[in-house]
Protein backbone atom coordinates (compact mmCIF):
# COMPACT_ATOMS: atom_id res chain seq x y z
CA UNK A 1 0.00 0.00 0.00
CA UNK A 2 2.79 2.37 0.99
CA UNK A 3 4.76 1.64 -2.09
CA UNK A 4 1.76 2.08 -4.33
CA UNK A 5 1.29 5.57 -2.90
CA UNK A 6 4.97 6.40 -3.35
CA UNK A 7 4.95 5.15 -6.92
CA UNK A 8 1.74 7.04 -7.63
CA UNK A 9 3.24 10.24 -6.31
CA UNK A 10 6.47 9.85 -8.30
CA UNK A 11 4.60 8.86 -11.46
CA UNK A 12 2.27 11.84 -11.07
CA UNK A 13 5.16 14.26 -10.69
CA UNK A 14 7.02 12.71 -13.63
CA UNK A 15 3.93 13.00 -15.81
CA UNK A 16 3.42 16.62 -14.78
CA UNK A 17 7.08 17.43 -15.45
CA UNK A 18 7.03 15.74 -18.84
CA UNK A 19 3.93 17.64 -19.92
CA UNK A 20 5.33 20.93 -18.61
CA UNK A 21 8.67 20.33 -20.35
CA UNK A 22 6.91 19.57 -23.62
CA UNK A 23 4.89 22.78 -23.34
CA UNK A 24 8.00 24.77 -22.39
CA UNK A 25 9.98 23.44 -25.34
CA UNK A 26 7.05 24.11 -27.68
CA UNK A 27 6.82 27.73 -26.47
CA UNK A 28 10.59 28.18 -26.81
CA UNK A 29 10.51 26.93 -30.43
CA UNK A 30 7.54 29.15 -31.35
CA UNK A 31 8.37 32.66 -30.15
CA UNK A 32 5.53 34.13 -32.21
CA UNK A 33 2.83 33.16 -29.68
CA UNK A 34 2.89 36.59 -28.10
CA UNK A 35 4.38 35.36 -24.83
CA UNK A 36 7.25 37.09 -23.09
CA UNK A 37 10.34 35.07 -24.18
CA UNK A 38 12.12 35.93 -20.92
CA UNK A 39 9.25 34.41 -18.94
CA UNK A 40 9.31 31.28 -21.11
CA UNK A 41 13.04 31.02 -20.56
CA UNK A 42 12.64 31.43 -16.79
CA UNK A 43 9.93 28.76 -16.85
CA UNK A 44 12.21 26.33 -18.73
CA UNK A 45 15.12 27.01 -16.39
CA UNK A 46 12.95 26.35 -13.37
CA UNK A 47 11.73 23.11 -14.97
CA UNK A 48 15.32 22.00 -15.50
CA UNK A 49 15.92 22.66 -11.81
CA UNK A 50 12.90 20.52 -11.03
CA UNK A 51 14.21 17.63 -13.11
CA UNK A 52 17.49 17.76 -11.22
CA UNK A 53 15.72 17.90 -7.85
CA UNK A 54 13.55 14.91 -8.77
CA UNK A 55 16.46 12.87 -10.08
CA UNK A 56 18.53 13.53 -6.98
CA UNK A 57 15.58 12.82 -4.71
CA UNK A 58 14.80 9.58 -6.47
CA UNK A 59 18.45 8.53 -6.20
CA UNK A 60 18.47 9.40 -2.50
CA UNK A 61 15.24 7.47 -2.02
CA UNK A 62 16.77 4.31 -3.45
CA UNK A 63 20.03 4.76 -1.52
CA UNK A 64 18.41 5.31 1.86
CA UNK A 65 17.98 7.67 4.77
CA UNK A 66 21.64 8.34 5.56
CA UNK A 67 22.43 9.27 1.97
CA UNK A 68 19.60 11.76 1.97
CA UNK A 69 20.82 13.34 5.20
CA UNK A 70 24.34 13.63 3.75
CA UNK A 71 22.91 15.15 0.58
CA UNK A 72 20.97 17.69 2.62
CA UNK A 73 24.17 18.44 4.55
CA UNK A 74 26.01 19.17 1.31
CA UNK A 75 23.25 21.53 0.19
CA UNK A 76 23.51 23.31 3.56
CA UNK A 77 27.27 23.55 3.23
CA UNK A 78 26.98 25.09 -0.22
CA UNK A 79 24.22 27.49 0.83
CA UNK A 80 26.33 28.64 3.78
CA UNK A 81 29.25 29.14 1.41
CA UNK A 82 27.14 31.45 -0.71
CA UNK A 83 25.74 33.22 2.34
CA UNK A 84 29.15 33.98 3.86
CA UNK A 85 30.69 34.83 0.47
CA UNK A 86 28.01 37.46 0.07
CA UNK A 87 28.36 38.87 3.58
CA UNK A 88 31.51 40.89 4.13
CA UNK A 89 33.62 39.39 6.90
CA UNK A 90 36.86 40.61 8.39
CA UNK A 91 40.09 38.77 8.90
CA UNK A 92 39.27 38.42 12.59
CA UNK A 93 36.35 36.14 11.66
CA UNK A 94 38.53 33.69 9.76
CA UNK A 95 39.19 31.12 12.48
CA UNK A 96 35.60 31.19 13.68
CA UNK A 97 34.42 30.60 10.11
CA UNK A 98 36.80 27.68 9.69
CA UNK A 99 35.24 25.84 12.65
CA UNK A 100 31.74 26.80 11.58
CA UNK A 101 32.29 25.18 8.19
CA UNK A 102 34.35 22.17 9.14
CA UNK A 103 33.19 21.28 12.63
CA UNK A 104 29.77 22.72 13.49
CA UNK A 105 28.02 22.09 10.18
CA UNK A 106 29.15 18.45 9.77
CA UNK A 107 28.65 17.65 13.46
CA UNK A 108 25.12 19.01 13.36
CA UNK A 109 24.29 16.71 10.45
CA UNK A 110 25.87 13.75 12.23
CA UNK A 111 23.45 14.39 15.10
CA UNK A 112 20.59 14.60 12.59
CA UNK A 113 21.70 11.34 10.95
CA UNK A 114 21.73 9.60 14.33
CA UNK A 115 18.28 10.99 15.12
CA UNK A 116 19.45 12.79 18.26
CA UNK A 117 16.69 15.40 18.33
CA UNK A 118 17.53 16.21 21.96
CA UNK A 119 21.01 17.35 20.85
CA UNK A 120 20.63 18.69 17.33
CA UNK A 121 17.70 20.91 18.30
CA UNK A 122 19.98 22.95 20.58
CA UNK A 123 23.48 22.34 19.24
CA UNK A 124 23.68 25.14 16.67
CA UNK A 125 21.31 27.75 18.13
CA UNK A 126 22.93 27.45 21.55
CA UNK A 127 26.51 26.21 21.30
CA UNK A 128 27.08 27.43 17.75
CA UNK A 129 26.02 30.92 18.79
CA UNK A 130 28.19 30.93 21.89
CA UNK A 131 31.18 29.58 19.98
CA UNK A 132 30.98 32.25 17.27
CA UNK A 133 30.79 35.02 19.89
CA UNK A 134 33.71 33.69 21.90
CA UNK A 135 35.96 32.80 18.98
CA UNK A 136 35.54 36.15 17.25
CA UNK A 137 36.20 37.92 20.56
CA UNK A 138 39.38 35.90 21.04
CA UNK A 139 40.61 36.87 17.58
CA UNK A 140 41.04 40.35 19.03
CA UNK A 141 39.14 42.42 16.48
CA UNK A 142 36.30 44.24 18.23
CA UNK A 143 35.18 46.47 15.34
CA UNK A 144 31.41 46.10 14.78
CA UNK A 145 31.57 42.95 16.88
CA UNK A 146 27.84 42.25 17.27
CA UNK A 147 27.14 42.93 13.61
CA UNK A 148 29.83 40.51 12.45
CA UNK A 149 28.91 37.70 14.81
CA UNK A 150 25.22 38.13 13.99
CA UNK A 151 25.98 37.60 10.29
CA UNK A 152 27.69 34.29 10.91
CA UNK A 153 24.99 33.18 13.35
CA UNK A 154 22.24 34.07 10.91
CA UNK A 155 24.00 32.07 8.20
CA UNK A 156 24.32 29.07 10.48
CA UNK A 157 20.70 29.14 11.60
CA UNK A 158 19.15 29.74 8.18
CA UNK A 159 21.40 27.65 5.92
CA UNK A 160 22.27 24.77 8.24
CA UNK A 161 19.90 24.53 11.19
CA UNK A 162 16.64 25.28 9.42
CA UNK A 163 17.40 23.26 6.31
CA UNK A 164 18.37 20.21 8.37
CA UNK A 165 14.75 19.87 9.53
CA UNK A 166 13.92 18.69 6.03
CA UNK A 167 16.37 15.81 6.49
CA UNK A 168 15.13 15.23 10.05
CA UNK A 169 11.67 14.46 8.61
CA UNK A 170 13.04 11.05 7.61
CA UNK A 171 13.30 10.07 11.29
CA UNK A 172 9.87 11.23 12.42
CA UNK A 173 7.91 8.34 13.89
CA UNK A 174 4.51 8.18 12.26
CA UNK A 175 1.68 6.18 13.81
CA UNK A 176 1.36 2.80 12.13
CA UNK A 177 4.40 3.25 9.89
CA UNK A 178 7.92 1.87 10.01
CA UNK A 179 10.43 4.66 10.78
CA UNK A 180 12.54 5.48 7.74
CA UNK A 181 10.06 3.81 5.41
CA UNK A 182 8.55 5.11 2.20
CA UNK A 183 6.10 7.15 4.26
CA UNK A 184 8.89 9.40 5.54
CA UNK A 185 10.25 9.93 2.05
CA UNK A 186 6.78 10.84 0.86
CA UNK A 187 6.57 13.36 3.68
CA UNK A 188 9.83 14.96 2.56
CA UNK A 189 8.69 14.93 -1.04
CA UNK A 190 5.38 16.45 0.00
CA UNK A 191 7.22 19.32 1.69
CA UNK A 192 9.45 19.99 -1.31
CA UNK A 193 6.48 19.85 -3.64
CA UNK A 194 4.48 22.34 -1.53
CA UNK A 195 7.40 24.75 -1.16
CA UNK A 196 8.17 24.77 -4.88
CA UNK A 197 4.52 25.01 -5.81
CA UNK A 198 4.05 27.93 -3.40
CA UNK A 199 7.04 29.68 -5.01
CA UNK A 200 5.57 29.25 -8.48
CA UNK A 201 2.09 30.33 -7.37
CA UNK A 202 3.49 33.39 -5.65
CA UNK A 203 5.12 34.36 -8.94
CA UNK A 204 2.00 33.65 -10.99
CA UNK A 205 -0.44 35.43 -8.64
CA UNK A 206 1.85 38.45 -8.26
CA UNK A 207 2.19 38.57 -12.01
CA UNK A 208 -1.55 38.28 -12.69
CA UNK A 209 -3.16 40.12 -9.79
CA UNK A 210 -0.31 41.79 -7.93
CA UNK A 211 -1.23 45.34 -6.83
CA UNK A 212 0.28 46.05 -3.43
CA UNK A 213 3.87 44.96 -2.77
CA UNK A 214 4.47 43.91 0.83
CA UNK A 215 7.67 45.94 0.98
CA UNK A 216 8.46 47.67 -2.33
CA UNK A 217 11.93 48.68 -1.06
CA UNK A 218 12.87 45.02 -0.64
CA UNK A 219 11.05 43.32 -3.48
CA UNK A 220 8.68 44.83 -6.01
CA UNK A 221 7.48 41.43 -7.25
CA UNK A 222 6.32 40.01 -3.90
CA UNK A 223 2.81 41.28 -3.29
CA UNK A 224 0.02 40.71 -0.76
CA UNK A 225 -2.05 39.24 -3.59
CA UNK A 226 0.79 36.85 -4.42
CA UNK A 227 1.10 35.80 -0.79
CA UNK A 228 -2.62 35.20 -0.33
CA UNK A 229 -3.02 33.53 -3.72
CA UNK A 230 -0.08 31.22 -3.23
CA UNK A 231 -1.15 30.31 0.32
CA UNK A 232 -4.66 29.44 -0.88
CA UNK A 233 -3.52 27.50 -3.94
CA UNK A 234 -0.93 25.60 -1.93
CA UNK A 235 -3.54 24.75 0.72
CA UNK A 236 -5.77 23.40 -2.06
CA UNK A 237 -2.98 21.31 -3.58
CA UNK A 238 -2.05 19.95 -0.15
CA UNK A 239 -5.67 19.00 0.54
CA UNK A 240 -5.89 17.19 -2.79
CA UNK A 241 -2.63 15.34 -2.15
CA UNK A 242 -3.36 14.58 1.52
CA UNK A 243 -3.16 10.80 0.82
CA UNK A 244 0.54 11.15 -0.01
CA UNK A 245 1.48 12.60 3.38
CA UNK A 246 0.78 9.90 5.96
CA UNK A 247 -0.24 11.59 9.23
CA UNK A 248 -2.51 14.30 7.83
CA UNK A 249 -6.26 14.49 7.35
CA UNK A 250 -7.30 16.60 4.34
CA UNK A 251 -8.04 19.69 6.46
CA UNK A 252 -4.75 19.33 8.33
CA UNK A 253 -2.89 19.00 5.04
CA UNK A 254 -4.57 22.17 3.80
CA UNK A 255 -3.51 24.04 6.94
CA UNK A 256 0.05 22.74 6.56
CA UNK A 257 0.07 23.85 2.91
CA UNK A 258 -1.10 27.33 3.92
CA UNK A 259 1.57 27.69 6.60
CA UNK A 260 4.31 26.32 4.32
CA UNK A 261 3.43 28.89 1.65
CA UNK A 262 3.47 31.76 4.15
CA UNK A 263 6.81 30.63 5.60
CA UNK A 264 8.31 30.18 2.14
CA UNK A 265 7.24 33.72 1.33
CA UNK A 266 8.91 34.94 4.53
CA UNK A 267 12.12 33.13 3.54
CA UNK A 268 12.10 34.69 0.09
CA UNK A 269 11.56 38.15 1.57
CA UNK A 270 14.41 37.67 4.05
CA UNK A 271 16.90 36.64 1.38
CA UNK A 272 15.70 39.47 -0.87
CA UNK A 273 16.43 41.94 1.93
CA UNK A 274 19.96 40.57 2.36
CA UNK A 275 20.57 40.58 -1.39
CA UNK A 276 19.16 44.10 -1.74
CA UNK A 277 21.48 45.29 1.02
CA UNK A 278 24.48 43.79 -0.79
CA UNK A 279 23.35 45.10 -4.16
CA UNK A 280 23.07 41.78 -5.99
CA UNK A 281 20.08 40.17 -7.64
CA UNK A 282 20.90 36.49 -7.31
CA UNK A 283 23.31 34.64 -5.11
CA UNK A 284 24.32 32.89 -8.30
CA UNK A 285 25.46 36.04 -10.07
CA UNK A 286 27.78 36.89 -7.25
CA UNK A 287 30.26 34.40 -8.61
CA UNK A 288 29.75 33.88 -12.29
CA UNK A 289 28.94 30.33 -13.32
CA UNK A 290 27.41 29.18 -10.05
CA UNK A 291 23.76 28.28 -10.03
CA UNK A 292 22.92 29.92 -6.74
CA UNK A 293 21.89 27.17 -4.36
CA UNK A 294 20.67 29.70 -1.80
CA UNK A 295 18.22 31.14 -4.35
CA UNK A 296 16.69 27.68 -4.65
CA UNK A 297 16.48 26.79 -0.96
CA UNK A 298 15.57 30.11 0.71
CA UNK A 299 11.86 29.27 1.00
CA UNK A 300 12.69 25.73 2.09
CA UNK A 301 14.91 27.01 4.92
CA UNK A 302 11.98 28.83 6.49
CA UNK A 303 9.29 26.25 5.73
CA UNK A 304 11.12 23.09 6.85
CA UNK A 305 11.14 23.67 10.66
CA UNK A 306 7.43 24.56 10.77
CA UNK A 307 6.51 21.59 8.61
CA UNK A 308 8.60 19.34 10.85
CA UNK A 309 6.98 20.52 14.06
CA UNK A 310 3.47 20.36 12.63
CA UNK A 311 4.16 16.80 11.50
CA UNK A 312 5.43 15.81 14.93
CA UNK A 313 2.42 17.46 16.52
CA UNK A 314 -0.07 15.60 14.35
CA UNK A 315 1.80 12.29 14.13
CA UNK A 316 2.99 12.36 17.75
CA UNK A 317 2.61 9.07 19.47
Amino acid sequence: MNDIRTIALIAGVLLLLTVATAVGQFLARHPDRGLDPAAVNAFNLRLRGWWIICTVLAAAFWLGTTTTVVLCGLVSFWALREFITLTPTRKGDHRALFWVFFLFTPLHYVLVAYDRYDLFSVFLPLYGTLFVLARVAMAGDYKRFLERTAKIQAGLVVCVYCLSFAAALLHVKIRGQEPGSGANFRLLFFLILLVQFADCMQYVWSRMAGRRPVAPEVSSTRTWEGLLGSATSTALLAAVLWWAAPPFEPWQAALVGFVVAVMGFAGGMTMSAIKRDRGVKDYGTLVVGHGGVLDRVDSMCFAAPVFYHLTVLVAGQ
Binding site: H94, V287, V288
Partner: protein
Amino acid sequence: MLYHAEPMPVDVAPPRRAATGRSAVCRAAGLTLAALARLLSGASVRWIASQPDTCQRVYFANHTSHLDALLIWSSLPQPVRELTRPVAAKDYWSRGVLRRWLAEEVFDALLIDRTDIKVHQSPVDLMLREIGSTRSLIVFPEGSRSVTGDLGEFKSGLYYLAKKRPDIELLPVHIDNLNRILPRGEFLPVPLLSCISFGPPMWLEHGEAKANFLARARKAVQALKE
Protein backbone atom coordinates in the same frame (compact mmCIF):
# COMPACT_ATOMS: atom_id res chain seq x y z
CA MET B 1 68.36 48.96 -9.65
CA LEU B 2 67.55 45.33 -9.61
CA TYR B 3 67.52 44.53 -13.28
CA HIS B 4 69.62 45.36 -16.31
CA ALA B 5 68.49 48.54 -17.92
CA GLU B 6 69.21 47.47 -21.47
CA PRO B 7 68.08 44.24 -23.08
CA MET B 8 70.59 41.42 -23.02
CA PRO B 9 70.91 38.73 -25.65
CA VAL B 10 68.89 35.77 -24.49
CA ASP B 11 70.21 32.32 -25.18
CA VAL B 12 67.20 30.15 -25.87
CA ALA B 13 68.26 26.91 -24.28
CA PRO B 14 66.07 23.80 -24.11
CA PRO B 15 64.10 23.65 -20.86
CA ARG B 16 65.77 22.01 -17.92
CA ARG B 17 63.38 19.14 -18.11
CA ALA B 18 60.65 18.05 -20.46
CA ALA B 19 57.10 18.70 -19.28
CA THR B 20 56.30 15.03 -19.16
CA GLY B 21 59.48 14.16 -17.28
CA ARG B 22 57.83 14.28 -13.86
CA SER B 23 57.26 10.99 -12.11
CA ALA B 24 53.79 9.49 -11.89
CA VAL B 25 53.63 10.17 -8.14
CA CYS B 26 54.36 13.84 -8.63
CA ARG B 27 51.81 14.14 -11.40
CA ALA B 28 49.17 12.43 -9.26
CA ALA B 29 50.03 14.68 -6.31
CA GLY B 30 49.73 17.71 -8.58
CA LEU B 31 46.34 16.64 -9.90
CA THR B 32 45.06 15.84 -6.39
CA LEU B 33 46.18 19.18 -4.99
CA ALA B 34 44.74 21.04 -7.96
CA ALA B 35 41.39 19.28 -7.53
CA LEU B 36 41.42 19.98 -3.79
CA ALA B 37 42.20 23.65 -4.34
CA ARG B 38 39.40 23.94 -6.88
CA LEU B 39 36.97 22.26 -4.50
CA LEU B 40 37.97 24.38 -1.50
CA SER B 41 37.92 27.67 -3.33
CA GLY B 42 34.76 26.95 -5.32
CA ALA B 43 36.52 28.72 -8.16
CA SER B 44 34.63 29.57 -11.30
CA VAL B 45 36.85 30.28 -14.28
CA ARG B 46 36.08 32.94 -16.89
CA TRP B 47 37.96 33.62 -20.09
CA ILE B 48 37.18 37.17 -21.14
CA ALA B 49 38.13 37.95 -24.74
CA SER B 50 40.75 35.20 -24.61
CA GLN B 51 41.01 31.45 -24.98
CA PRO B 52 43.18 28.81 -23.34
CA ASP B 53 46.10 28.10 -25.65
CA THR B 54 49.38 26.19 -25.56
CA CYS B 55 51.29 29.11 -27.08
CA GLN B 56 53.98 30.70 -24.94
CA ARG B 57 52.43 33.04 -22.40
CA VAL B 58 53.15 34.90 -19.22
CA TYR B 59 50.13 34.95 -16.91
CA PHE B 60 50.37 37.88 -14.52
CA ALA B 61 47.97 38.11 -11.60
CA ASN B 62 47.16 39.91 -8.38
CA HIS B 63 48.61 38.15 -5.35
CA THR B 64 46.55 37.79 -2.18
CA SER B 65 46.92 34.21 -1.04
CA HIS B 66 49.21 31.19 -1.05
CA LEU B 67 46.62 29.41 -3.16
CA ASP B 68 46.91 31.89 -6.04
CA ALA B 69 49.51 30.09 -8.16
CA LEU B 70 48.00 26.68 -7.49
CA LEU B 71 44.56 27.90 -8.44
CA ILE B 72 45.62 29.55 -11.68
CA TRP B 73 47.62 26.45 -12.52
CA SER B 74 44.65 24.19 -11.81
CA SER B 75 42.19 26.27 -13.80
CA LEU B 76 44.20 25.84 -16.99
CA PRO B 77 43.28 22.90 -19.22
CA GLN B 78 45.57 19.89 -18.86
CA PRO B 79 47.75 20.42 -22.00
CA VAL B 80 48.28 24.09 -21.12
CA ARG B 81 48.91 23.25 -17.47
CA GLU B 82 51.70 20.83 -18.42
CA LEU B 83 53.54 23.69 -20.11
CA THR B 84 53.02 26.30 -17.42
CA ARG B 85 55.39 26.95 -14.54
CA PRO B 86 54.62 29.17 -11.56
CA VAL B 87 57.34 31.57 -10.47
CA ALA B 88 57.81 31.49 -6.69
CA ALA B 89 60.08 32.94 -4.05
CA LYS B 90 63.08 30.75 -3.27
CA ASP B 91 63.45 31.99 0.32
CA TYR B 92 59.97 30.64 1.11
CA TRP B 93 59.58 27.60 -1.10
CA SER B 94 62.98 25.97 -0.61
CA ARG B 95 62.60 25.90 3.17
CA GLY B 96 61.71 22.42 4.43
CA VAL B 97 61.48 19.11 2.60
CA LEU B 98 57.74 19.27 1.85
CA ARG B 99 57.74 22.78 0.43
CA ARG B 100 60.77 22.06 -1.68
CA TRP B 101 59.25 18.84 -3.01
CA LEU B 102 55.95 20.61 -3.79
CA ALA B 103 57.66 23.48 -5.54
CA GLU B 104 60.29 21.60 -7.48
CA GLU B 105 58.78 18.22 -8.22
CA VAL B 106 55.02 18.64 -8.14
CA PHE B 107 54.47 22.08 -9.63
CA ASP B 108 57.79 22.39 -11.40
CA ALA B 109 57.98 25.93 -10.02
CA LEU B 110 60.71 28.31 -11.03
CA LEU B 111 62.26 29.51 -7.79
CA ILE B 112 63.58 33.05 -7.75
CA ASP B 113 65.94 34.34 -5.13
CA ARG B 114 64.34 37.53 -3.82
CA THR B 115 67.05 38.26 -1.28
CA ASP B 116 70.22 37.75 -3.28
CA ILE B 117 69.81 39.27 -6.74
CA LYS B 118 73.08 39.39 -8.65
CA VAL B 119 73.73 41.69 -11.56
CA HIS B 120 74.86 38.90 -13.84
CA GLN B 121 72.07 36.54 -12.90
CA SER B 122 68.91 38.65 -13.00
CA PRO B 123 65.63 36.85 -12.33
CA VAL B 124 64.29 37.85 -15.73
CA ASP B 125 67.21 36.20 -17.56
CA LEU B 126 66.78 33.11 -15.43
CA MET B 127 63.07 32.95 -16.24
CA LEU B 128 63.68 33.36 -19.96
CA ARG B 129 66.38 30.72 -19.96
CA GLU B 130 64.18 28.28 -18.08
CA ILE B 131 61.11 28.58 -20.26
CA GLY B 132 62.97 28.25 -23.54
CA SER B 133 60.70 28.52 -26.52
CA THR B 134 57.81 26.34 -25.37
CA ARG B 135 56.85 26.89 -21.76
CA SER B 136 54.70 29.51 -20.05
CA LEU B 137 54.99 31.29 -16.70
CA ILE B 138 52.71 32.43 -13.90
CA VAL B 139 54.05 35.58 -12.25
CA PHE B 140 52.83 37.96 -9.56
CA PRO B 141 54.18 41.40 -10.47
CA GLU B 142 53.29 42.87 -7.08
CA GLY B 143 56.18 40.84 -5.68
CA SER B 144 54.46 39.68 -2.51
CA ARG B 145 50.99 38.98 -1.20
CA SER B 146 48.81 41.99 -0.62
CA VAL B 147 47.65 42.37 3.00
CA THR B 148 44.50 44.37 2.33
CA GLY B 149 43.43 42.58 -0.83
CA ASP B 150 43.93 45.73 -2.91
CA LEU B 151 46.11 45.64 -5.98
CA GLY B 152 49.59 47.05 -5.25
CA GLU B 153 52.11 48.66 -7.60
CA PHE B 154 53.76 46.37 -10.16
CA LYS B 155 57.47 45.68 -10.03
CA SER B 156 59.45 46.19 -13.20
CA GLY B 157 60.26 42.52 -13.93
CA LEU B 158 57.21 42.15 -16.16
CA TYR B 159 58.44 45.05 -18.30
CA TYR B 160 61.89 43.53 -18.85
CA LEU B 161 60.32 40.18 -19.56
CA ALA B 162 58.16 41.79 -22.26
CA LYS B 163 61.06 43.78 -23.62
CA LYS B 164 63.38 40.81 -24.03
CA ARG B 165 60.75 38.53 -25.47
CA PRO B 166 58.22 40.76 -27.24
CA ASP B 167 56.69 37.70 -28.94
CA ILE B 168 55.31 36.22 -25.70
CA GLU B 169 51.64 36.90 -24.97
CA LEU B 170 51.08 38.62 -21.61
CA LEU B 171 47.78 37.51 -20.11
CA PRO B 172 46.25 39.47 -17.23
CA VAL B 173 44.57 37.32 -14.57
CA HIS B 174 42.38 38.51 -11.72
CA ILE B 175 41.72 36.37 -8.68
CA ASP B 176 38.68 37.44 -6.69
CA ASN B 177 37.86 36.60 -3.07
CA LEU B 178 40.76 34.19 -2.52
CA ASN B 179 42.18 36.50 0.15
CA ARG B 180 39.14 35.64 2.27
CA ILE B 181 39.58 31.91 1.66
CA LEU B 182 43.21 31.75 2.74
CA PRO B 183 44.43 35.17 3.88
CA ARG B 184 48.02 36.03 4.52
CA GLY B 185 49.14 34.60 7.85
CA GLU B 186 46.46 31.89 8.02
CA PHE B 187 46.98 28.23 7.25
CA LEU B 188 43.42 26.90 7.52
CA PRO B 189 41.17 27.73 4.58
CA VAL B 190 37.53 28.83 4.77
CA PRO B 191 35.67 27.37 1.77
CA LEU B 192 34.02 30.44 0.29
CA LEU B 193 33.51 30.95 -3.43
CA SER B 194 36.08 32.63 -5.65
CA CYS B 195 36.41 33.60 -9.27
CA ILE B 196 39.36 33.61 -11.66
CA SER B 197 39.20 35.79 -14.75
CA PHE B 198 41.63 35.55 -17.64
CA GLY B 199 41.73 38.70 -19.73
CA PRO B 200 42.73 39.48 -23.33
CA PRO B 201 46.47 39.17 -24.12
CA MET B 202 48.63 42.28 -24.28
CA TRP B 203 52.13 43.10 -25.49
CA LEU B 204 54.70 45.79 -24.94
CA GLU B 205 54.05 48.56 -27.47
CA HIS B 206 57.00 49.72 -29.53
CA GLY B 207 58.86 52.37 -27.58
CA GLU B 208 56.42 52.27 -24.65
CA ALA B 209 57.93 53.66 -21.46
CA LYS B 210 58.34 51.37 -18.46
CA ALA B 211 56.01 53.30 -16.17
CA ASN B 212 53.30 53.49 -18.83
CA PHE B 213 53.50 49.81 -19.58
CA LEU B 214 53.36 48.81 -15.92
CA ALA B 215 50.40 51.11 -15.33
CA ARG B 216 48.63 49.61 -18.35
CA ALA B 217 49.30 46.06 -17.14
CA ARG B 218 48.04 46.92 -13.68
CA LYS B 219 44.91 48.45 -15.14
CA ALA B 220 44.34 45.31 -17.22
CA VAL B 221 44.25 43.20 -14.05
CA GLN B 222 42.09 45.75 -12.26
CA ALA B 223 39.65 45.87 -15.18
CA LEU B 224 38.89 42.16 -14.75
CA LYS B 225 37.56 42.81 -11.27
CA GLU B 226 34.47 44.78 -12.34
